[in-house]
């Protein structure tokens, strides 16, 4: 596969935006400014971005409770996102969804989902729309390793196979489901082998390697757009932080994360590769970093200062008409 340097810079920008965003969110949660529960995506940036670089606004993704990274990768507005996480007016969902339920249909983002395994059935619906409307669109569902066991996910794979839907099952194996390890919760199984059993191409890639994800996704998207049906990709990338912010992570040995930061940081790996193999300099990347820090700083300040929804918002948006 060939890589356009402009695409690579864009990919870097999105990955860095996720990192910066999540690190900031972490500090904000610790400072107590963020309502509700927040699940951070650090360490998994290359998955969302490697996947979404192939998608248009008219393609759809279904997300999870750990959805900030997916939103950013899919191109959702950072301010809208922050306003939503802070449950403020003007948020992506006008403040009613919060971190675990934010959606942006204009950007093809079908919603974070606080029900584990909730999104894949919805995402295949978007794939069905693309098929019926004949618009060459594709749909993708992000699915955690823990979610991979949920019945809804298997049903969705079977449905996609039956109807040859333009669908990609993107498994994010980040090593844990809450406080239990992926080595245990799927018994003697393996996400990729299980997916292959459904009669679709299924590959396992290093989820900290943008290029590995990007290449696998490229093949899957092409298949999908050509009407050849669904694919499965398992991207392995451990999460850096707890299940939610506040998790003591007793299930994890000391040093595991230090090791990840040192040897498996998707951004460091990306930078090493692009500065070596492409005409991209570390300085360019630093500029992006700085720009993003500033953008996110400003956006967070803006979001914190923004007005809350008015009280009548409790009652609106239940129905289109009633």
């Amino acid at each position: 596969m060939s890589y356009d340097p402009i695409m690579l810079l864009d990919a870097y920008r999105r990955m860095r935006a996720i990192r910066e965003f999540e690190e900031r969110m972490r500090r904000e949660v610790q400072a107590g400014t963020v309502p509700g529960f927040v699940h951070l995506y650090c360490g998994e940036e290359a998955i969302a971005v490697g996947a979404c670089m192939h998608l248009l606004d008219t393609d759809y993704i279904g997300s999870t409770h750990r959805g900030h990274g997916h939103c950013i990768a899919k191109g959702c507005d950072l301010e809208g996102l922050l306003l939503e996480i802070y449950c403020k007016q003007g948020g992506l969902c006008n403040g009613k969804g919060g971190s675990m339920h934010m959606a942006d249909l204009n950007k093809g983002m079908l919603g974070a989902n606080a029900i584990v395994g909730g999104a894949p059935p919805i995402a295949i619906g978007a794939a069905l729309s693309a098929q019926v409307l004949g618009n060459r669109g594709v749909a993708l569902a992000f699915i955690g390793d823990g979610a991979s066991n949920q019945g809804t996910v298997f049903e969705s794979m079977n449905m996609a196979s039956c109807h040859s839907l333009p669908m990609i099952f993107m498994y994010e194996n980040n090593g844990y489901a809450e406080f239990s390890g992926a080595k245990w919760h799927m018994g003697k199984a393996d996400i990729t082998r299980r997916a292959a059993g459904f009669g679709m191409p299924a590959v396992k890639v290093d989820g900290t390697d943008f290029f590995a994800v990007y290449d696998a996704m490229g093949a899957a998207v092409e298949r999908a757009r050509n009407g050849e049906g669904p694919s499965s990709i398992e991207a392995v990338a451990m999460r850096w932080y707890g299940h939610f912010e506040g998790d003591m992570q007793l299930y994890r040995k000391a040093g595991e994360v230090d090791e990840l930061r040192k040897n498996s940081d998707p951004l460091i790996k990306f930078e090493a590769r692009v500065t070596a193999d492409f005409d991209i300099s570390a300085e360019e990347l630093r500029e992006i970093d700085e720009e993003l820090t500033e953008i996110i700083d400003e956006a967070v300040d803006m979001a914190k200062a923004a007005p809350k929804p008015t009280n009548d918002a409790l009652f609106t948006d239940v129905y289109a008409s009633y």
Binding site: G91, K96, G111, A114, I115, P121, G125, V132
Partner: protein, 336 residues
């Protein structure tokens, strides 16, 4: 005007709406049938009860899709398709099967619009069969519409005759909210005059199927037929029964119910659901809370008992509210 039964009225409505709007798609288990079979026939089923007969022939399998037996995927798919440009009419063969796809209704479809801050239309219809009386046993005979009506964000429709079935289904398909359309399996062959052309009956408007002044009977779905028959019988005795068919329970036409009770002062509600947290409880509660002073006697609920539906035919008969029980309830309100 031609006579049509409920089944044919629904079939006709699906065809009219599919002709009218290319975004309308129909799917479910064996809505066509025959894929992967050895005969190679084009339409081996047309729906378990023949409701979707002829759709695939006219609109093709791209818009009329068979589905594997995976209700969460079917209903979730309808939700996702509705968010992204289609207007799906999905079939959940029996309402009893909400158990295997309830999350997609309760936490996804019903909440999309709200969770997304009003930025989503969710134009989908779930057609499903309800009710006892056909010997289908405990797992295929429930009413359960109260469970769905409880959930904010969805609408629940209970047609009791072919004319309403057509008009309400038309509205359901054109509506931008998720609608559960509950077809009582024991009245599919009930017929009445139904125009050939399209028409829409608005949601939240009860029909008064019998006018009367002594007592109001609010009846739902198949129970409307029973209530009408009882009303007709009692009319001969000089007891004037007003029968009200809400037609949709979410939204519920509370104004018509309250107006009727204001007139009659007496209320019976006939509902095939199990009693606890039933629509019958909801409606009697409504009247007690909103119009206590108009009640001349205690309202009476006629519902199924707090038991599953037995497979045993004569016990199933006893399970369903009977004309005798309705009559008894009416007399009780008159005596009270």
């Amino acid at each position: 005007m031609p006579n049509k039964n409920i089944r044919d009225a629904i079939n006709e409505t699906l065809k009219l709406e599919m002709r009218r709007d290319p975004r309308v798609v129909v799917f479910g288990e064996d809505v066509v049938g025959g894929l992967g079979g050895s005969s190679g026939i084009e339409e081996a089923a047309g729906g378990t009860f023949g409701i979707t007969t002829g759709l695939a022939a006219e609109f093709g399998r791209r818009r009329v899709l068979d589905m594997p037996i995976t209700e969460s995927a079917i209903i979730g798919m309808a939700g996702g398709a509705a968010l992204t440009g289609l207007r799906p009419v999905a079939e959940l063969m029996f309402i009893d099967f909400i158990g295997v796809c309830f999350d997609q209704i309760l936490n996804q479809i019903a909440k999309f619009r709200y969770m997304f801050g009003g930025k989503a239309d969710v134009p989908l219809v779930i057609r499903t069969m309800i009710g006892a009386g056909m010997g289908t046993g405990p797992q295929h005979s429930q009413a359960l519409y109260n469970v769905l009506a409880h959930v904010p964000g969805i609408k629940v429709v209970l047609p009791s005759n072919a004319y309403d079935a057509k008009g309400l289904l038309t509205t359901a398909i054109r509506d931008n909210d998720p609608v559960i359309f509950c077809e009582h399996k024991a009245i599919y062959t009930e017929s009445c005059e139904v125009p050939d052309e399209s028409y829409a009956i608005p949601f939240g408007q009860a029909a008064i199927t019998r006018t009367g002044k002594d007592v109001t009977v609010v009846a739902l779905s198949r129970m409307v037929l029973l209530a009408n028959a009882v009303a007709d019988r009692l009319a001969k005795e000089g007891i004037s029964v007003e029968v009200l068919d809400p037609r949709t329970i979410s939204p519920l036409d509370t104004a018509s119910i309250l107006a009727s009770v204001a007139k009659t002062g007496r209320l019976v509600v006939v509902d095939e659901c199990n009693p606890f947290c039933s629509v019958a409880s909801e409606i009697t509660s409504l009247v007690a809370c909103e119009a206590l002073s108009s009640l001349k006697s205690a309202p009476v609920k006629v519902t199924a008992p707090h038991t599953p539906v037995p497979a045993t035919p004569h016990l199933e008969q006893l399970y369903v509210p009977s004309p005798a029980a309705i009559e008894k309830a009416i007399r009780a309100t008159l005596a009270g």
